[in-house]
């Protein structure tokens, strides 16, 4: 069991995040929108700065010195990512624009090769729109259908229903590790094993997982996994697609362009090998290097300590929030991480968020890109507080008093 970060350690670590030191509307900023994006430590910001000051150059192209330095740093970043997610081989790590981009890549390439009329793709009812819409699009194109694993009133997947739905028509299962609206941590290892028993590959959306817990693609035996750099203290615009080599080799390229080719004649192009086959055009070089720096930062603190610290914070927040009259927590799974979705009595989440904002407290309100989840609960949306290791008990107290003040006005 990892020990949690002490109060003084958190205070010390907060100094790594310059953005947290400001006041908003005259109040100290309380940033509880980490599921939307996390803040960046100085190391990451300085790494980006250094890249542009010292060795900005295009990768995999030039013979000159700077291009070599940039290429080395970019490929080193790939190694850092591979190590972070415990990939067996660096070439199984593809740099993308983010989670959405990674899912679109797999949906498009897998769909074009493996989906036929009558086939189906399975997702869950708690997916982010980015893990619904790309599948709907490719299913429509290929004449396939979408099957959906439902969840219960607590926000836990109904796995017995999954077993029923997992028939021969299912060609791929795509699901989230951690729900961005309900906080549910899905038992993905079991689910992957169940899918594999029927030779169905699994794509895991780990956008809300990798920053909160240790994730090993090999221990999970997952076929594809995607996440975004900016949700794990890295820059925006960079993300990761992990794919088992056997699968990535089977997929056709996603986009055509430079860097993804071996030879091009006007008649025929021979594609480059992994990972370059899926990285057409000049990649987000600084983003990749910045992401690697963020992962090193996380590794220095220790993901297990981060996990334990955030679990403690989650417990504290749940206990404190439940003291508010009329509060309704949406998503009450036993295994949870990252976020708390709630409604303050009959108050519209927009009003709640607006009044918190003016007290310097940043949360997210709305449907969190999960309209199907909101429809199931018959609510227009929720207010959502989401945590990072740098959040403190005092910030939870500020949230609770902010909500008390909002309740006086709204209820």
């Amino acid at each position: 069991m990892s020990t949690i970060l002490s109060f003084s350690e958190i205070k010390e670590l907060r100094r790594d995040f310059p953005i947290l030191e400001q006041k908003v509307y005259g109040n100290p900023l309380v940033y509880l929108d980490n599921a939307a994006t996390t803040q960046k430590p100085r190391e990451v910001i300085e790494k980006l700065d250094l890249y542009y000051k010292a060795y900005n150059s295009n990768v995999h192209r030039g013979v000159h010195h700077l291009s070599q330095v940039a290429t080395d740093a970019y490929e080193e970043a790939r190694k850092t990512v591979a190590a972070y997610i415990d990939a067996g081989d660096d070439k199984e790590v593809i740099f993308t624009k983010g989670t959405t981009d990674g899912i679109n890549l797999v949906a498009s390439c897998f769909g074009r090769s493996f989906l036929q009329a009558g086939d189906s793709v399975m997702i869950t009812a708690m997916e982010h729109h980015s893990n619904i819409v790309p599948w709907q699009m490719i299913c429509e194109e290929r004449g396939a259908t979408l099957k959906v694993i439902p969840f219960n009133a607590f926000g836990e997947l109904e796995l017995d229903k999954m077993a029923e739905l997992l028939d021969d028509s299912v060609k791929l299962l795509a699901l989230t590790y951690v729900s961005n609206s309900l906080a549910t941590v899905n038992p993905v290892k079991e689910i992957i094993a169940a899918a594999h028993e029927k030779n169905i590959p699994v794509l895991l959306d780990a956008a809300q997982a990798v920053q909160h817990m240790s994730v090993s693609v090999r221990a999970l035996d997952v076929d594809f996994m995607v996440f975004s750099g900016h949700k794990i203290y890295g820059p925006t615009g960079i993300g990761i697609l992990y794919g088992k080599q056997e699968w990535l080799d089977k997929l056709p390229p996603y986009q055509g362009g430079g860097d993804m080719i071996k030879t091009v004649t006007l008649e025929k192009t021979v594609y480059n090998e992994l990972p370059f086959k899926f990285e057409a055009g000049t990649p987000d070089i600084s983003g990749a290097i910045g992401l690697a720096e963020a992962l090193k930062y996380v590794r220095r603190i220790g993901i297990d300590r981060i996990h334990a610290t955030e679990a403690d914070l989650m417990d504290y927040a749940l206990t404190r929030l439940q003291t508010l009259p009329g509060i309704r927590i949406i998503g009450q799974a036993k295994q949870r991480a990252g976020v708390i979705s709630f409604l303050l009595g009959t108050a519209h989440p927009f009003d709640t968020g607006e009044l918190l904002d003016k007290q310097g407290i940043a949360i997210r309100t709305g449907h969190h890109c999960c309209q199907p989840v909101m429809d199931i609960f018959k609510i227009p949306g929720t207010a959502r507080a989401s945590f990072a290791f740098y959040n403190t008990h005092e910030e939870i107290d500020a949230l609770v008093s902010g909500l008390e003040r909002a309740a006086k006005i709204l209820l």
């Binding site: 509307y25 108050a347 519209h348 989440p349 927009f350 009003d351 607006e354 009044l355 003016k358 007290q359 309100t365 709305g366 227009p380 949306g381 003040r405 006005i409 709204l410």
Partner: protein, 148 residues
């Protein structure tokens, strides 16, 4: 076609009145309490008009807007599912309701900015207010065309 007089003095004075009412509220929470209070004074939309066709969908909060055209003037009733949005809608209705289409088309709603609520009119805010303003202008343009 005879030139009509566009009298925007009353729109202007209604805006000034609101600016004055908000002038002494320096605390944001007080300001929002006032806005929510204004929402309670909004002429309620009749249930028969609270239909999907009159719904202006924002990303987060929803606004229903109905326009009546009487004696050459437009009268608005509205509602919203969020209290702050409802208050903002009430302010806009208070300024524009009861004016001719031409006056509404020519109006410049600067009061939202003046009382520090400009961010509510940003397209990314998606609270329905900007869409509602557009809808009001559309009504005004439509009735103006009908008149002639």
């Amino acid at each position: 076609m005879a030139t009509e007089n566009i009298d925007n003095k009353s729109i202007e004075s209604a805006q000034q009145e609101i600016i004055d009412e908000f002038a002494f509220l320096t605390d944001w929470m007080d300001k929002y309490e006032m806005i929510i209070q204004m929402g309670k004074e909004l002429p309620m939309i009749a249930d028969e008009y609270k239909v999907p066709e009159n719904l202006i969908k924002g990303c987060q909060s929803q606004v229903w807007l109905h326009a009546d055209f009487k004696d050459g003037k437009l009268f608005f009733t509205a509602d919203s599912d969020a209290l702050i949005t409802k208050g903002l809608v009430a302010l806009v209705v208070r300024v524009l309701s009861g004016h001719t289409p031409k006056e509404i088309i020519a109006s410049d709603l600067h009061f939202v900015d003046d009382i520090g609520l400009k961010s509510h009119l940003s397209p990314t805010r998606s609270n329905g207010l900007l869409s509602m303003l557009k809808q009001i202008k559309h009504y005004a343009i439509a009735f103006n065309t009908l008149q002639h």
